[in-house]
Amino acid sequence: MAYETVKVDTPLVLRILPVASVVAFFGIWQGVVDFGIVPNTMLASPTQVAVLFWEKLFVADPDGAVLSVHAWVSIQEAFTGFFLSLLVGIPLGLMMGWFNVAEGLARPIFELIRPIPPVAWIPLTIFWFGIGIPGKVFIIWLSGIVPCVINSYVGVRMTSPTLIQMARTYGATDWEIFKKICIPSALPMVFGAMTISQAYCWTTLVGAEYLAADQGLGYLITMGRRLASPPMVVLGMICVGLTGVAIGIVIERLEKKLLAGIRR
């Protein structure tokens, strides 16, 4: 091919800006607390959080578990809920997109349940499952399934009509068209659903743990409040954020690999 790769350098200023912004953010935060502009009882400084982070790697008290246990419990809950929502939501959405019967049956119920925020299910969930892992998985599943259904549905609906007609002229049956044309066409949307769904699951997790838990990163935040410990609250928040970012990166990598064959 007559194409060659040319490397274009980003100007120095543009490369420095993101670093400068992060440094400034933490610098101002530290200063605001150190100089007493915001009292320490209201906000922890970055160094206090870092110190607590180091401690919590080894010490279970006062909230009952070390950081890795909290994180692991949260990840387990989020991923169980996430995978279950993919498992149910994607096939459901795909079927709703192609088969009118599936749409007619599932759509009204889905539209009724969709606007209810997943955290609104917490009380019922506690009646049904108690405060253990299954209840939280259920709530996470509820929030994760929504984008799965919607994106898969839209993905199938967006299949090129001409491609479908083309397949019909080759004698393809409805089921074959669904399998060989609609599903591959919908795949990019389905992968989009995975990214969104994962983000929803992770966000809902904290809410679920905030109200009903005895371990987990959300629980760490709750305990920080009860113990009037701003460092613990902020540590919980930062751990939730960083773990979320890490999961996001893993999913993105996975998506790129899996989609490599479907270049447009």
Binding site: S160, A167, R168, T169, G171, P184, I262
Partner: protein
């Protein structure tokens, strides 16, 4: 209604009206009657908005005529089928399938065994001149090559009738000219009944045994039928070619 078995395709008094957005009626075709003999190359020539693609889609079974009937081998057409191979202007290849995967699609859907369909697909890939590109994906091919895949794909299903809807409309002039020559060569190598829709007079004369010219502006009506008595392979610069071109141009509202 009676129809004769001697025609491959027999269209009798086809009219088509679309209802858009539930209220607006668009009259697209008005009383089209045309027949096509076995292994004949018929070109449907008309400017934009003359209903020529709709006529082809009706014969393909993708649309139903509002009035009139279409007979294929004496049997009424009631829907799309594997006996008619379609080639679209926009190629319509599967982006996630290779050239080979696209070409062997038809036989695969008909449940032909892997070895057999590979053989058929390879035969037509060779015929359209894409040997060596079997494992390329559509996005790696040029426009002309994509349409070669489209043609090979239609052929590989062994249809009795080939329907081509402005297949070279998206190509540049040079590639288009080259593809016209290729189409003539492929058709002479493996004869099929062909219906070829175009808005290009030269393309029509270069390829067709007969040319059905539709009148511009909706609804599309039959304007004239031209017989092209030129030996193949044809030359755009032959005197008779140019005379016929002049005749059609003068008679129609088309401009070149």
């Amino acid at each position: 209604m009676e129809t004769s078995q001697e025609y491959k395709i027999d269209c009798q008094h086809i009219s088509k009206t679309f209802v858009q957005k539930g209220t607006q009626r668009v009259h697209v075709l008005e009383d089209i009657s045309v027949n096509v003999k076995n292994n004949e190359f018929l070109v449907i020539l008309g400017p934009g908005q003359s209903g020529k693609s709709t006529l082809l889609r009706i014969i393909a079974g993708l649309e139903t005529p509002s009035e009139g009937n279409v007979y294929l081998d004496g049997k009424e057409v009631s829907g799309p089928g594997a006996d008619r191979g379609l080639v679209f202007q926009s190629y319509m290849l599967f982006p996630w399938k290779t050239v080979l995967g696209n070409v062997e699609l038809g036989p695969k859907l008909r449940g032909i065994s892997k070895n057999e369909r590979r053989e058929v697909a390879q035969h037509y890939i060779d015929l359209v001149g894409l040997k060596g590109f079997e494992n390329h994906y559509p996005h790696q091919l040029s426009g002309g090559m994509k349409q070669r895949v489209g043609i090979a794909r239609a052929y590989s299903n062994n249809p009795e009738l080939m329907l081509l809807d402005e297949p070279f409309g998206q190509l540049d002039a040079q590639t288009r000219y080259f593809m016209e020559k290729e189409t003539a060569r492929i058709w002479e190598t493996e004869k099929r009944t062909v219906l070829f829709v175009t808005n290009n007079i030269e393309e029509a004369i270069f390829l067709g045994d007969r040319i059905l010219s539709l009148q511009g502006k909706l609804p599309g009506r039959m304007h004239a039928m031209y017989e092209v008595h030129l030996p193949r392979p044809r030359e755009h610069t032959e005197m008779k070619f140019l005379e016929l071109r002049q005749k059609i141009t003068d008679a129609s509202e088309l401009t070149l």
